[in-house]
């Protein structure tokens, strides 16, 4: 099986992650942060070590500023619904995922926020930045931007967007679902106020775990309230992080797997993983150009401006038909709109969708050669 759907979730998971999760279910059976017995404390130590690994990786002071969430969408919702107030204005990029669009749409209906979309110009960061600048108005309180497009792989200049936003006292939320574990992100250097990540993509962790990383968590209204194991007499959610934004029992297996995934990516080297995947994307791009009927929507992916995600279409076939034919040949890709209608609107593919491919650290050049071989057969109506 050739798995090229790593933008949806990475597969396979590294042995270290699998073994850690298996160990965790038998060894860390106590509920972390709830009891005083040794097994509960041991579980809590594992949770803390994962917080620490994440805070070190993204260079934020204090493991308490790492909030575990179900996924990146949950982290994004926590910020949008916890930070925005009535009549606030928000600037978003034209490549945002439904994880951003849907909560904002809901807030627009409920509390009358306004939203302006800033255009992104691939490989022209000056123009992109100018577009963000023009979108800002006196009511803007938040800029939301995806770090790497989950459809086109376009990378946004988040450091420059943060610098621009901070000139006007505006906070920035970065959706790093596709780039966490794949690109170096330094919160202090970049100035990101709210960083949202997924564990199950670039970190090779199990599905169902993500994180919000921020030093402004205590200013957010909690999305959900409930038991935290602390301050139990009070009917109010604790004010201190991370308990302010965490509730109920944690995803212990996901958290342990997250730590193992971080260790895995760090051992491999984030830069090495990125380089490997970009090399494969480069090969795919060159080969796609040679196939009659292939339509590509982005320039040749330059590692300065792109992450290893590439989407295309094949004339005379719908994107779903291509994905189905690939699946029949044991090649896994994702077609359609990828939960990102805005990104498809940007490229003019809203009505057609596209076929998306994304390699991982485990993808080989041989895998890519076979994918191209099969794609050529599909294009030639041979299968």
């Amino acid at each position: 099986m050739i798995y090229l759907d790593n933008a949806a979730t990475t597969y396979p998971k590294p042995k270290q992650v699998i073994n850690t999760v298996a160990t965790a279910i038998s060894k860390y059976g106590g509920n972390p942060g709830r009891s005083g017995h040794s097994m509960s404390i041991q579980s809590a130590m594992q949770v803390y070590e994962t917080r620490q690994a994440i805070s070190n990786m993204f260079n934020i002071d204090g493991p308490e500023n790492v909030v575990f969430t179900q996924n990146c969408t949950h982290a994004i919702n926590t910020v949008l619904k916890g930070y925005l107030k009535a009549n606030d204005h928000v600037v978003i990029s034209c490549l945002e995922h439904n994880a951003v669009l849907r909560p904002l749409h809901s807030l627009k209906e409920k509390i009358d926020i306004t939203i302006t979309k800033a255009n992104v110009y691939p490989m022209d960061n000056d123009r992109t930045l100018d577009s963000f600048r023009q979108a800002i108005n006196s009511k803007t309180r938040l800029i939301v931007c995806i770090h790497g497009s989950n459809v086109w792989g376009i990378k946004l200049p988040i450091e420059r967007i943060c610098a621009l936003a901070h000139q006007y006292g505006i906070k920035v939320l970065v959706d790093a679902a596709q780039t966490g574990g794949l690109c170096n992100i330094d919160i202090q250097d970049s100035g990101i106020d709210f960083l949202c990540i997924a564990g199950h993509k670039g970190f090779y962790a199990p599905m169902g775990i993500g994180a919000l990383i921020t030093k402004y968590g205590e200013n957010l209204q909690p999305l959900i309230e409930g038991g935290t194991g602390t301050n139990s007499i009070s009917p109010k959610q604790p004010e201190l992080m991370p308990e302010r934004l965490e509730f109920g029992t944690q995803n212990m297996l996901g958290i342990c797997g997250f730590k193992a995934g971080i260790d895995f990516t760090q051992k491999k080297g984030i830069n090495n993983i990125f380089k490997h995947e970009m090399t494969l994307i480069d090969i795919i791009y060159e080969q796609l150009l040679k196939i009659k009927g292939i339509k590509i929507y982005t320039p040749k992916p330059d590692p300065m401006y792109f992450v290893p995600v590439l989407s295309f279409n094949l004339s005379n076939f719908s994107s779903e038909e291509v994905a189905l034919k690939l699946d029949k040949n044991n090649i896994k890709v994702r077609a359609g709109l990828h939960c990102a209608p805005l990104a498809h609107e940007f490229a003019g593919t809203l009505s057609t969708g596209a076929v998306r491919i994304c390699p991982s650290v485990f993808t080989s050049q041989k895998d890519i050669e076979y994918f191209i071989f099969i794609l050529k057969k599909i294009a030639g109506n041979l299968i």
Partner: protein, 76 residues
């Protein structure tokens, strides 16, 4: 007479505080706060057998919010 304890807000801060004390050469042990009503409900404390006042100063200097320090009959 009780144990010398530093009561903290959460397990996260208890582990963080324990780490900080360890780096400062002060041994401590995480325990559930024995009298939750004194600390506004369930919580975690650090049992600091020795140098509790020094431990308190170290944690305060590190920005750790302490709910209460119980000297447990120790004067220093």
């Amino acid at each position: 007479m009780g144990k010398p304890l530093i009561m903290l807000n959460s397990i996260t801060y208890a582990i963080k505080a324990k780490d900080i004390l360890f780096r400062n050469g002060i041994a401590s042990y995480i325990e559930r706060t024995p009298h939750p009503e004194r600390a506004m409900g369930c919580g975690y404390s650090l049992y600091v057998p020795d140098r509790i006042l020094e431990a308190q100063s170290v944690l305060t200097a590190a920005g750790i919010k302490i709910i209460k320090t119980d000297l447990g009959g120790k004067s220093k």
